[in-house]
Amino acid sequence: MDCEHARLLLNFAQPLAVALEESEAEALASHVANCPACAALDRLRHRLDERIGEAMRAVPVPAGLRDRLNARLARERRRFYLRSAMAAAAALLLALGGGWLLWPRPLVVDPVAVHTERIELPITSAGVEKWFADRGVTMKAPGDLNYHLLQYCTLAHFQGKLVPLLEFRSGQDSAWVYVLDARRFDLAALLGPPVGTGTTFTVEYRPEPGDERFGYLIISTGAGLEAFKKTPQAT
C-alpha cells in the first residue's frame, strides 16, 4: 500500500465508521506502522477531529428548553382533544335531531374565535359573571365548579352564535363550559344524561339549577366533570 492510498483510507478508518474491509484495515495499519509521514498525518487528523468534535458538541442548551418543549406538547395534545371533542359534540348534536337549533350551514365551533382580553385570575363565579356583564354579556357561571382551576374566559362561536366559554384545567385534563342562553337556544331539547362519550372526552348538558334561563354544554377530558368541581376547601 502506498502513501496516497493509505491517506485516502485514513479518512474512513475512524471509530464507529467501520467502513473498511478487514484486509484493507490490516494493510493500512501495517503501512502506518512503518511510514512516519502517514503516521504523523494520522495523528494530526485524529487530534484535529477531536477538537472539531468537541467544538461541534459545545452548544449550550438554553435554560428551560425542556419545560418549554413539554408545555408546547401539552398544548398540542389539548388542541387535538378539543378538535376531536368538538367534532364529536357537533355530530352528536346533529344526531339528536334538534333541527331548529341548527343553521342551514355546517356546524362551526371555534373556541378561540374571540380572545381579546384575559380575565384576571384568581376569580369567583360571581367575578366571572361581572366580567362578562362589563362586556355586555349576561350569563350565569356554574356555581359548583372550582374556580381555582379556571384558565380563561372568552366568547366562542357555538352554532353560529357567540356564547361565553370557560376553560378549566385540572392536571392534564381540561373542561370547556359553553354557557347557553334559553332565549337563543332550545335548552329543553338538550336535557338528559351525558350525550356522548369518547375514549378521551365526555360531552354533557346540564341546566343551571338556580336559573332556568341558562344551561351548560360541557366537554371534558379525563374522568369527567367531578375533577373540576368545588371541594369543601375551595371557594
Partner: protein, 181 residues
Amino acid sequence: MGLAGSQRNVQQLVDDHYTALYRYAFRLTGSAADAEDLTQETFCTAQRKLRQLREPSRAKPWLFSILRNEYLHRERTQRQHPQVSLDSVGELAEAPPGPLPEVEPEQLQQALNELAEVFRTPVILYYFEDFSYRDIAEQMDLPLGTVMSRLARAKAYLRSRLLNPGPAVLADAQRRATDGL
C-alpha cells in the same frame, strides 16, 4: 386516536433526546431561535406520528430524520447562506508549523454555514459520534459510498478551513460561492 402513543412515551423521548436534537438543530441553522423552533416542531411531529416508531432503540435517528426534513422544508422557502464549492478542496498533506490551534465553536459554525446542506448534515452527524456511516446514509437516503465521499470532502474542508482561517481563505471561499451568480 391520532395522537398515537402515550404521553409518557413522548415525555421519555423528550427527556432522552432533547439536548442532542437541539445541538443538531443549532449546527444546522446557526441560530439559537431557529434551533429551538425546529426542536419544538420535531417533537410535535413525533408526538403525532409516534406509531411510526416501531423500535424504541431507533428513536434517535428517527427524531434526527424528522428534524432534518423540517429543516429542509424551511430552507426551500428561505434565502440560503452563500456556500462554497468543495470541488478543489484538498486534504491535509502535512502538519502545520506550531501547535495545533484551538477550534472555537463560533469559528466552526461559520465554516459549517459555508457548506451546502448535503455536506453539512453528514459532517455534523459524524462529529456527534453516535452515528455510523450507515446511520447517516439511512438518514439522508443515500448510498453508503456517496455519504463517505461527501463526508471526506466536508471533513477536509473543515480541517483546512479551521487550520487556516485567515482573510485570504475567507475571501477565496466567498469568491467560489459567488462564481457564476
